[in-house]
């Protein structure tokens, strides 16, 4: 029952309707953009921009290929942001969306520590740096539209070319396989199927993912396929044993080395220092 969006890079024409509809559905203010030498303005996700389309020009022989990549929160199957948050402000819903409770459910526990931002492998969450009491913000998979109103996410509805397809995750994986088998131009990889334990948003493409800004290799190694929460848990699960074991060991040592009479008369040993010396 976990929803998913399949993004087909080959079909995206970079019209940015998804960005506009995301802003308008979610009442997000526009960001002042600076002049830049490319088509990526504003170029990155932020607290006010939950989805962004970046453009890539690839040279292939004497041919130029334009490719456009829509980015947003990947809605990981086991989200790092959720496991990192110590106030449980992020939750993975059974519908697949990873939502932020302070703004979504009015459960305002977030302390604004930004550990979720350190944790997210896709650098998604944005912080309202200019607010006195800032929230963390990111794509919410249009949880309100999909859950309460039975609609598709605003960006999917807005997409004219069928680059975005919304449905059950298994069905989207099957659809991706189907397209890949029918058309040999596709790279044989579904981005998001396994990365960091899998994500709800899936991508297929006809150009290698690393050439269009996807994280496929880090420090010359393929990206981790295990979910980040499972890594942390491998360490955290020892906490109670260390607590009890180390405490017991210390108590035993203290008792063992304790001399018959404990005679450091501390009051005589120490004294205040006199600054006038």
């Amino acid at each position: 029952m976990s929803k998913s969006v399949l993004v087909d890079i080959t079909r995206c024409i970079g019209c940015r309707s998804c960005m506009v509809s995301c802003k308008s559905w979610n009442d997000l203010p526009a960001e002042p953009s600076e002049f830049s030498n490319n088509w990526d303005s504003p170029g990155k996700l932020s607290a006010d921009t939950w989805t962004n389309v970046s453009s890539y020009v690839l040279e292939e022989g004497d041919q130029l290929k334009w490719r456009f990549v829509k980015r947003q929160c990947m809605h990981c199957n086991e989200p790092a942001c959720e496991s990192a948050c110590f106030t449980h402000s992020f939750v993975k819903t059974k519908e697949g969306a990873v939502i932020y409770k302070p703004t979504e459910l009015n459960e305002d526990y977030c302390v604004g520590c930004r550990y979720c931002m350190i944790a997210c492998p896709f650098d998604v969450p944005g912080f309202q740096w200019d607010k006195a009491l800032p929230y963390v913000q990111k794509c919410r998979f249009c949880y309100d539209r999909t859950k309460e109103e039975g609609l598709e996410p605003a960006c999917v509805t807005a997409c004219l070319t069928g680059a975005l397809t919304y449905g059950e995750r298994d069905e989207m994986l099957a659809l991706a396989q189907d397209r890949m088998s029918k058309d040999p131009r596709y790279i044989k990889h579904i981005y998001g199927e396994k990365e960091y334990g899998g994500t709800s948003w899936l991508y297929i493409s006809d150009v290698p993912f690393d050439q269009i800004g996807f994280k496929t290799e880090v420090f010359n190694r393929p990206v981790t396929q295990r979910s980040i929460p499972s890594l942390t848990w491998d360490v955290l699960k020892w906490t109670p044993y260390i607590f009890v074991g180390w405490g017991a060991l210390l108590t035993a040592m203290r008792a063992y080395t304790k001399r018959r009479a404990e005679v450091h008369n501390e009051e005589d040993l120490y004294g205040p220092v006199d600054p006038k010396e």
């Binding site: 944790a119 650098d123 944005g126 200019d130 880090v218 848990w233 040592m253 450091h264």
Partner: protein
């Protein structure tokens, strides 16, 4: 001595500290009204900066002197270290207070700071860090209460604290061991973000172990500073005998580090000439191997300058390591750039000025440093010539 009233001598140096502190308070108020963006250079790429990297991570590590001395003196009962026990406790307590203050300044929705006590995100490393730090600070306040009530007479309370002291002491070692290590575990989530020379599944071990061996070095520095400031004899014999603990722990640290790098197959990255690899080599050679040798050579170890220099290297080395984890190791993967703003520096400076002032006030009014057996007139050579 105890009949003496409260005293706090004002010198120019202290006036400077007070002004820095007031400046920081003003900047902090500004930050609360206008938000983090108005005073810091933090961004979505660099959500954690100077306050978390330096004041929290380093502050807590530098406070490691508290728990290592507590372990040595109160659990292993090595009484010869008793003269430095209280000073170590005091600086540790102050270090934790700084860390809590910087955490409070750094969190965006600060009025929610108490929430993690009630909404249990126990799968978060930060949850463990938060609980341990708050509990341990409370414990240190109680431990300090024992000293406090020597001066401020309140026999009933002092007696009560006396009963609680053993469990407090044990908890006061277990909790910091746990959270010193979990400050390292915080970075396990940064897999594929933190450079592999620092990222490791056993980064918690490296953090707790270095916080521990940092302790004696930190105590040496503090002790020397205090003795200079007050024209006293430094506890040289105590410092020297502690070097053995530090040296062996550092040797083990180094060996485990090498094994870990090999096991993960990233050993070669230390020599690939990148910025990260050079920083890593500096960390290992200047701040680990060099002090090990200095501690190992008696001609250096037995001199005051020798112990102090080696200890300084150890202390700076741990700070260097934490900074590498927070900044150097993350720079490549997160992109963008971060350099703290003047305001961030000002607030940091102000917090550490507060620490210095509080330390001076407390040692001059409570029984923290050992009484000197002899009169002090002979030790003028240790004076600094300036008034702290």
């Amino acid at each position: 001595m105890y009949g003496r009233n409260w005293s706090f001598r004002i010198t120019w140096f202290r006036i400077l500290l007070i002004m820095l502190m007031l400046g920081a308070v003003a900047a902090a108020l500004y930050r609360f009204v206008f938000g983090l963006g108005a005073v810091t250079n933090l961004s979505d790429q660099w959500p954690w900066g100077l306050w978390i990297g330096f004041d929290l991570l380093c502050g807590i590590a530098l406070a490691g002197g508290g728990f290592s001395t507590a372990l040595i003196v109160h659990v292993l009962h090595r009484d010869k270290y008793l003269p430095i026990a209280r000073a170590a406790l005091l600086t540790s307590l102050l270090g934790y207070i700084i860390s809590l203050v910087s955490l409070f300044l750094d969190i965006g929705r600060w009025y929610n700071f108490w929430r993690p006590f009630f909404y249990w995100g126990f799968h978060s490393v930060l949850f463990e860090v938060f609980w341990c730090i708050s509990l341990y600070t409370t414990i240190q306040v109680l431990e300090f209460g024992d000293i406090f009530f020597e001066k401020v007479k309140f026999p009933a309370l002092k007696k009560l604290l006396g009963y609680m002291m053993t469990p407090l002491l044990i908890l006061g070692i277990v909790l910091p061991s746990l959270h010193q290590s979990s400050l390292g575990s915080l970075y396990i989530v940064a897999v594929d973000k933190l450079y592999p020379l620092w990222w490791s599944m056993i980064i918690p071990f490296f953090f707790v172990w270095s916080a521990f061996f940092l302790g004696p070095a930190m105590v040496t520095i503090e002790g020397t500073l205090a003795s200079r400031a007050y024209g006293r004899q430094p506890e040289l014999p105590v410092f020297q005998s502690m070097t053995k603990i530090t040296m062996w722990m550092m040797i083990i640290y180094f060996i485990v580090k090498m094994i870990d790098l090999n096991y993960r197959g990233v050993f070669g990255m230390a020599f690939n000439g990148s910025f990260e690899s050079n920083m890593f080599l500096i960390e290992m050679i200047v701040f680990i191997l060099l002090p090990i040798f200095m501690y190992a050579i008696p001609a250096i170890r037995t001199k005051l300058w020798g112990v102090v220099t080696a200890s300084l290297l150890v202390v700076v080395g741990v700070v260097f390591n934490r900074m590498n984890v927070v900044f150097t190791g993350m720079a490549k993967s997160v992109g963008g750039s971060y350099f703290p703003s003047v305001w961030e520096f000002l607030i940091t400076l102000g917090m550490w000025s507060f620490l210095a002032l509080a330390y001076l006030f407390i040692v001059e009014n409570f029984s923290i440093l050992p009484k000197e057996e002899h009169t002090h007139s002979t030790h003028t050579s240790y004076g600094t010539g300036f008034n702290v």
